[in-house]
């Protein structure tokens, strides 16, 4: 029943594109649009940007238990605005929703939450940092030291996170172009978290530890009209270097790609479209769909040519907005762990 309103929420990028890209910093409905050469101001920019249509705080983690069994964890808070700006109480145009998931080799548990802005049910403050919806929280004195919690009908987790490196800015200093036409978002990450805590699963409580990656992104028009979906990779190699790469699949069969190479010390290099390549090697039937679950990923400039395997091919987020999100491992030129998100396979 509530699928329709939410499906409507998800349709807004198309609607925005129909309005055209004005290039004047706002679109026709009054939303701000990202501009090149951004200058971020922290901690304020860890908080929400209500003048932009959509924004997220997107955390993924690769974990292991004391026996060495691998786990994946996701916690995402989305903000979606019906109109730019904030409003009083129920009149706020901000709608919040969140996804949480835990993936093991043989199960994938996911759940979601919804909230209206303005009344205190959900929101983000920058200083101290605090992102919440219902009883789910991601909070701490600053973004380098956080606690994380989420609960669903059949799982829960409580984690602590500590950042060991700097923020990484994608694209041109955080201005991440998403299409040839120039659609773009503001996009930065904190990929250097150490994470530990407890997963509560149907079988019982499991102490786990590992690494986590936080993505921050906000925009008003992330997809071009001819783009069907994306495949997004965050890879942490065993040698300490990291790679963020995504491709936007276009209806003519070509892809728009973007990637960032992150050295172990956090210095980063952004690559334009075409530098990063990802080809599906094998598909799995997941929730009645064919989804690629083995990939060949390459960034020749850095000598990366790896085969990506999913920990659990059935990591389907069967929520109001369905997509695939789960932990991966890689072999080939590099080894390591990471996360894969695939949308548009509906």
């Amino acid at each position: 029943m509530r699928l329709r309103p939410l499906a409507f929420l998800c349709l807004w990028p198309i609607a925005a594109l129909a309005q055209g890209f004005s290039g004047l910093g706002t679109d026709a409905e009054g939303f701000a649009v990202p501009a090149p050469n951004p200058s971020f101001s922290f901690p304020a920019d860890h908080g929400p940007h209500p003048d932009y249509r959509i924004e997220w705080w997107y955390l993924t983690a690769n974990l292991t238990d004391p026996d060495g069994a691998p786990y994946g964890l996701q916690w995402t808070l989305f903000r979606s605005a019906l109109a730019p700006g904030e409003g009083e109480g129920w009149q706020s145009p901000q709608v919040w929703f969140a996804h949480a998931a835990v993936t093991t080799q043989d199960t994938h548990l996911a759940t979601e939450r919804f909230a209206r802005g303005g009344i205190g049910q959900a929101g983000v403050t920058a200083d101290p940092f605090r992102a919440w919806i219902d009883e789910w929280t991601l909070e701490g004195a600053d973004v380098d030291n956080l606690t994380l919690t989420a609960r669903g009908p059949d799982f829960a987790y409580d984690m602590t996170l500590t950042a060991d490196g700097p923020l990484v800015f994608h694209g041109e200093g955080g201005f991440s172009v998403k299409s040839i036409e120039g659609q773009a978002s503001y996009y930065y990450s904190q990929p250097f978290y150490r994470i530990e805590g407890t997963l509560t699963l149907p079988a019982g409580r499991v102490p786990v530890s590992g690494t986590a990656w936080l993505d921050r992104e906000w925009s008003s028009q992330p997809l071009a009209e001819n783009q069907d979906g994306w495949d997004w990779f965050s890879l942490s190699f065993d040698d300490g270097s990291k790679l963020m790469g995504f491709q936007l699949r276009q209806s003519d069969g070509t892809d728009f790609t973007s990637s960032t190479w992150i050295a172990p010390d956090g210095t980063s290099t952004a690559y334009p479209s075409g530098a990063f390549r990802a080809e599906p090697l094998a598909h799995s039937t997941v929730a009645g769909r064919e989804v690629p679950t083995r990939w060949q990923v390459a960034l020749p400039d850095r000598g990366v040519d790896v085969t990506i395997s999913t920990l659990n091919p059935n990591a389907w987020m069967d929520l109001t907005i369905p997509y695939w999100e789960g932990p991966v491992t890689m072999s080939g030129s590099h080894t390591g762990r990471g996360y894969l998100e695939m949308t548009g396979y509906e």
Binding site: M1, R2, P5, W90, G120, W132, E135, R151, P153
Partner: protein, 791 residues
Amino acid sequence: MTRACLSALMSHWRRNPVQIFAYLAGLALATALWSGVQAINAEARASYDAAETTLGEAQFDRLVSRQGASIDQDTYLALRRAGWQVSPVIEGRLGAVRVVGIDPITSPTGFGALDAGGPLPLDFTGPAQLFANAQTARDLPDDVTVTLTPDIASGVALGDVGIVQRLLGRDDLSYLTVAPMQPMGRPDLATVAPTLRLQPAQQGASVAQLTDSFHLNLTAFGLLSFAVGLFIVHSTIGLAFEQRRPMIRTLRSLGVPLNTLVTLITAEMLGLAAIGALIGIVLGYLIAAVLLPDVAATLRGLYGAEISGTLQLRAEWWLSGLAIAVLGTAAALAGRLWQIARMPLLASARPRAWVMASGARLRVQALGATALLIAALALSLFGQGLMAGFALLGCLLIGAALLLPVLFNWALAHLQTLAKGPVWGWFWADTRQQLPTLSLALMALLLAVSANIGVSTMVSSFRTTFVAFLDQRLAPELFVQVDDAAQSARLEAFLTQNKAEILPLLSTKAQIAGQPTDLYGVRVGQTYRDNWQFLGATPAPWDAVQAGTAVIVNEQLARRADLWVGDSVQISPDLDLPIAAVVGDYGNPHGQVVLSEDLFRTLHPDLAPLQFGIRTDDTDQLRAQITAALGIPDSAMINQAAIKAMSLAVFDRTFTVTAALNVLTLLVAGFAILMTLLTLADLRLPQLAPVWALGLTRRTLGRCELLRAVALAALVFLCAIPLGLALAWVLLTIINTQAFGWKLPMYLFPADYLKLGLYALMAALLAALWPATRLMRTRPSTLLKVFANEA
């Protein structure tokens, strides 16, 4: 050939305009009543569905204030922040409209009816915008922007919780719906929101169920009138076939193949049936449009069910009307076509319509009737369930209808032997001779009259019982509703100080003996002891209740859970109490358990009484004092007299509808008689001409025709009384018990039956008036043609 045959067949109607009128009008009337009633039912059902989907909340548990007050928005947020998956709802009134505000983002139902495809109400940032149907929209203030949404229940406007809060000038919530999926590790309600309690979803007590009894009445009427209409159609078809036998014989001997003839006749009759049915649907729409406001008022008053006062042309009723009319015609046609197919080519062309009913045929009919009545008896003794109840009704009615000609034949033969003088002897003999042709119309009249007796007995019995029940239950002169525990305590203190007898009522919902039940705590006192009458009780039920050692349950709970006086019910996990008495309860379909006030308070220490009954000699003065001293608004109080007046007004509305349907079914039955007599008129001439020639004037013959109709109607009425009472008995003791859980005592209303009998005689007299007048004015030469040489 087809065209020639068809025009030959149709020429019969041109020669007999009365017959085609009877055929079309019979079908039209039958379809009109049926589809009119169906239209009303469909409209009501659509309204209930709209109410269910608009609010859609009955299926979810709720959190409500323990004190019956509203809920702070902070409490809602505290629950959400603790992990409780709840969604806010605010309800209030803007004038006559019930305004419901929900949060579409968290609601487990979303905007229900709106989901069907209307514009989505996501723009909660904009100006005050509500969703309502056109009728409700007119009752809303002008400054509210209304998006017209036909699927929303009448009397309800829907909007975003924030917008409704603004419109109502409030910042609180009415209740919270609890989503079915809840996270693990959620804290207890008591630790997060101690002022709230969980109210389980109401199972099986929807508005539709409540009002079923009322619609059952309407449907019964619709079906009976349709049956009556089909009798008309059946006899018209029969006559048309008898009269067209010579033509059919001629056509066949001229070489028209049997198949062609059968096809043509089928096409002709069904085509005409469709025309009649369409006329009927138009008439049915008019009937429904006229009756709907009264029906709507009845349902609103009786059950608080809002139904739309405007009628829509819904396929479900007009298509069903058309289909059932054509099918009914086809059924009547099939037997006749079978006869044609088997008819020897040169069979006698002499119409057989008035051949004396042979003893054999009557014997078969008597056997069938006996079998059906025995089946009815067996069903009434051993039948289980609602379907058995309806089967019983069917067997009873059809059996009685079949028996009617047999009884009449016997009675008329008897009257003939008793008759003094040749004219009376002839009168009864002639009446008896006409029985086979008139019997269908007489059966129709029997069904109409007995249905009227049955239904009006049921409705009147219900009214009598309900009024007595109101007198029992509404003994206190004044009723006051308070908002919260504090107000409740202040009111009680104030009344105690004023030495008024107070009857506080504590209530909560519970699941008892597997049934959703209202649990009541009452202060046992003289008022209860004096006024409550029980269907079954131990010697001193109130003493046991007062001592907390027994409970009283209502009939609904007793019947559904198969409990009676002396059985034990579990009131709380560690308390079982015996039933001291079972009380008749005609105000609602829910189960009820009555405890003493003390026991109730022990079980539910945090509930305060929110309703008070007060015994007082001066209601007006006390009302004024309560308002002045406690600030309780006058609108929260109601006089006993006002409630009674309201309830009776509701019943009078019910009677309006019932009476209108009574008159309509009688009219249809009267019409059946009229049409039969008119179509028979020409065939009657050879029977009457010799009597006339022998020295009875045409005037005398005409009077005899009138007298005959009245005599037959009187006989029908005599048969209809026992049948109608049997019908009422089945409706009251079997159908009602199965459908609604209460058994109603049956009362007799002889004056009403007498009036009805008078109406039936009048209907018959009016029906015979035209044919009799026609007979009186028949020219002698027309009568003399009977004797004339055929050559």
